[in-house]
């Protein structure tokens, strides 16, 4: 087996399994995996801020909805071609993240979190009140998507391909010098500053990168649902994705993916039996914060250290 294949055996296996998933013929699995991929990308984007930079954001859903709404409006209201709508929506997310980031990165800790919350709610209010453009409380329903993507299997492959490219890009960023600089800021911002790292610039760049990938997941969400709703910009949506990151483990690249898989699958599963999902969610949050602060990824490491390596 070539070294590259041996080194990445499990990643390749995971991708191969995802690639052949439609062969199972289960529409439910295809739909659910599409949704999980979208949320995993959303969680990965937030982890740039929370896990790598150490900045808590309560307004990340703003970029998710900016991406989704922009793509929806351009595709449907203005009948723009798909590629132009897609790229413009990404550009809007980047511009919004840059402008919001310019203000937010001037503050740290609690003040940073509160600023992101304030901007998040501002975006939510626009989505809610700009009724002629966004559809207000009813949402923007009935997005025109290219015919090729209206087939669920095609859309699954589109989401899978987009997610793979985005995840690889995020992986590269996180494992670059830039990624190391983010970790340095997380560990001790003053020390990083004294070491010559332009902390403000790094934080702003990270904010923009995070916003772009959140926007990308928002675009996929809007296309998948053929609709975009103001609730997607509400702070609770930011809270939900933050829980995914915490549950998966914020100090691991793969953690948010595990968190998204677990939380979203669990929500769908629990909702089939009871309406008390929020109680389950509260319980999960308590366990993660009090018992397993490193999340599921931390749990996997613990199992590796204590069981697998001994055997």
């Amino acid at each position: 087996m070539p070294f590259y294949v041996r080194k990445n055996f499990w990643t390749i296996t995971a991708l191969a399994l995802l690639a052949i998933l439609p062969l199972t013929g289960s529409r439910y699995s295809i739909d659910l995996t599409t949704q999980v991929l979208i949320y995993a990308l959303f969680a990965l984007s937030l982890n740039i801020l929370v896990g790598y930079l150490g900045n808590l954001s309560f307004g990340h859903a703003a970029f998710f909805s900016i991406g989704g709404y922009t793509c929806a409006i351009l595709l449907t209201t203005y009948n723009f071609p798909f590629l132009i709508s897609f790229l413009t929506a990404l550009a809007f997310s980047a511009i919004a993240a840059f402008l919001i980031g310019l203000v937010c990165v001037r503050r740290n800790h609690m003040y940073f979190a509160m600023l992101t919350l304030a901007f998040g709610m501002l975006v939510w209010a626009i989505a809610l009140k700009w009724r002629p453009v966004t559809g207000g409380d009813d949402g923007f329903v009935g997005i025109n998507i290219p015919t090729i993507l209206s087939n669920p299997i095609n859309f699954y492959y589109f989401t899978l391909l987009t997610s793979i490219i985005a995840t690889y890009a995020l992986w590269t960023i996180c494992n670059s010098t830039f990624g190391q600089a983010m970790i340095a800021i997380r560990e001790n911002q003053n020390r990083a500053l004294f070491l010559g790292i332009d902390t403000q610039s790094i934080r702003l760049k990270a904010f923009v990168i995070s916003g772009i990938f959140a926007g990308l997941s928002g675009i996929l969400f809007a296309l998948y649902n053929r609709g975009m709703y103001p609730e997607s910009a509400f702070w609770t949506e930011s809270g939900q994705v933050l829980i995914m990151v915490l549950l998966g483990g914020m100090h691991s690249f793969i953690g948010p993916i595990l968190g998204a898989i677990a939380l979203y699958s669990l929500e769908i599963f629990i909702n089939q039996f009871t309406e008390y999902w929020q109680i389950v969610l509260g319980g999960i949050l308590l366990i993660v914060v009090l018992i397993a602060p490193e999340g599921l990824a931390g749990g996997v490491i613990w199992v590796e250290k204590n069981f697998l390596k001994k055997s």
Binding site: N8, T11, Q35, K129, G139, I268, E275, Y276
Partner: protein
């Protein structure tokens, strides 16, 4: 460092554990996917609405089911959120293999579900959401609406406004499709009175202090409202100390004339306001209504039954008649069978318009008054507008 291998194995395990479950679609069962809010503020509507489904389904199954199959319904909580409802609708179709969708509550939520129905080519029967957008600008052949739509409700409001001598009208509702459509319809039907101000509040809000101040200082003599559910309860409790209901005439839609609403507010309910309701347990109606009320009272364990069950009961009966006529639940044939279909309901014969898929469902309207010693107001006398 975290190994990809173990993360992969862990991820796939939890994914498989929670998601891979294959419900077996029995050839003897006909599944209806029900989307209703069963938690949070919407539960006050969703749970009574489900009673109507239970009642109709029990009657159908006791009579041998439909096309030789037992009818079963699978309920999912929409949480009054469009994205949750949309995901739940897809899950019902792809995993539970339901043949028809039924619901939801709140126009925005139902519009989202309707989009799923359109793309999945599956019939959606909407028994409660009133927005005409559903069967108007967002119409598609798989959507059917058996609720009293905003055109009917707006027309009734306009008639009542004229009847009570309204001159200048202020309107107020939640800022979403239902209220906008309703007031547009009202404006079109008004002959004489004019709308002088519109006050829209955030959907689901419970703080009406600003609205109350606006209404107190507004120059209108009549207020036409469409804030519903817990919103109306909060509005009344907040407005009563200011004497708002004594200063102006009120016409309030959104089914606030129902017994459950009057029961929730008891002595706080503003006497004299004109309100509406789909059904009234105390209505002296035809034998079919009496029979329906008796069966519902047995199911709910109370004589003073809820209003919502009749909406879903009639909806399920329409679906049943459609499936029987088509001889199948297959979407294309069911659509054809439902178009123009007429059935007898507890409140008279109703028909689905073959052009826009709307049912000519009406509602009771009347002034809310104290009757006898009870502190729960009744609509007296109720008049049926359709």
């Amino acid at each position: 460092m975290l190994h990809i291998k173990n993360s992969f194995l862990f991820g796939i395990t939890i994914y498989a554990y929670f998601t891979i479950a294959f419900p077996v679609l029995s050839a003897e069962t006909l599944k209806i996917g029900v989307l209703m809010p069963t938690s949070g503020s919407g539960a006050a509507y969703g749970i009574p609405a489900i009673n109507g489904i239970i009642l109709a389904t029990n009657e159908i199954n006791e009579n041998g089911g439909l096309i030789g199959k037992k009818v079963e319904f699978v309920i999912r909580d929409t949480k009054l959120k469009p994205s949750v409802a949309s995901a739940a609708a897809k899950e019902l179709i792809t995993k539970e293999k339901v043949q028809v969708l039924f619901g939801a509550i709140s126009s925005g939520v139902t519009l989202a579900v309707s989009e799923v129905a359109k793309n999945e080519k599956i019939v959606l029967f909407a028994p409660i959401s009133k927005t005409t957008a559903l069967t108007g600008k967002k119409f598609h052949k798989y959507i059917f609406q058996s609720s009293a739509n905003t055109i009917i409700e707006g027309r009734a409001m306009a008639t009542i406004a004229k009847q009570i001598g309204a001159q200048k009208i202020c309107v107020s509702g939640f800022d979403y499709a239902y209220s906008h459509d309703l007031f547009e319809s009202l404006e079109q039907k008004l002959a004489g009175p004019t709308i002088s101000a519109k006050y829209h509040v955030k959907f689901g809000t419970k703080d009406f202090s600003a609205l109350i101040s606006q209404l107190l200082s507004a120059e209108c003599d009549t207020v036409v409202g469409a804030i519903w559910g817990g919103g109306f309860l909060a509005f009344v409790k907040q407005a009563n100390p200011f004497g708002l209901f004594k200063q102006k005439k009120f016409i309030w839609g959104a089914e606030v004339g129902s017994h459950e609403m009057a029961n929730s507010l008891k002595g706080d309910y503003p006497e004299g306001i004109w309100a509406n309701s789909y059904d009234l347990w105390y209505f002296k109606g035809p034998p079919a209504h009496k029979k329906f009320q008796q069966a519902l009272a047995k199911l709910e364990g109370q004589k003073e039954t809820n209003m919502w069950p009749i909406t879903t009961y009639v909806g399920v009966k329409f679906l049943a008649a459609g499936i029987t006529k088509a001889g199948t639940s297959e979407s294309e044939k069911l659509v054809k069978a439902l178009e123009g279909l007429s059935i007898d309901t507890p409140l008279g014969r109703k028909t689905i318009d073959p052009e826009n898929h709307r049912v000519n469902t009406g509602e009771f309207w009347g002034p809310m008054k104290k009757v006898g010693d009870s502190n729960i107001l009744h609509m007296s006398p109720p008049t049926y507008f359709d």
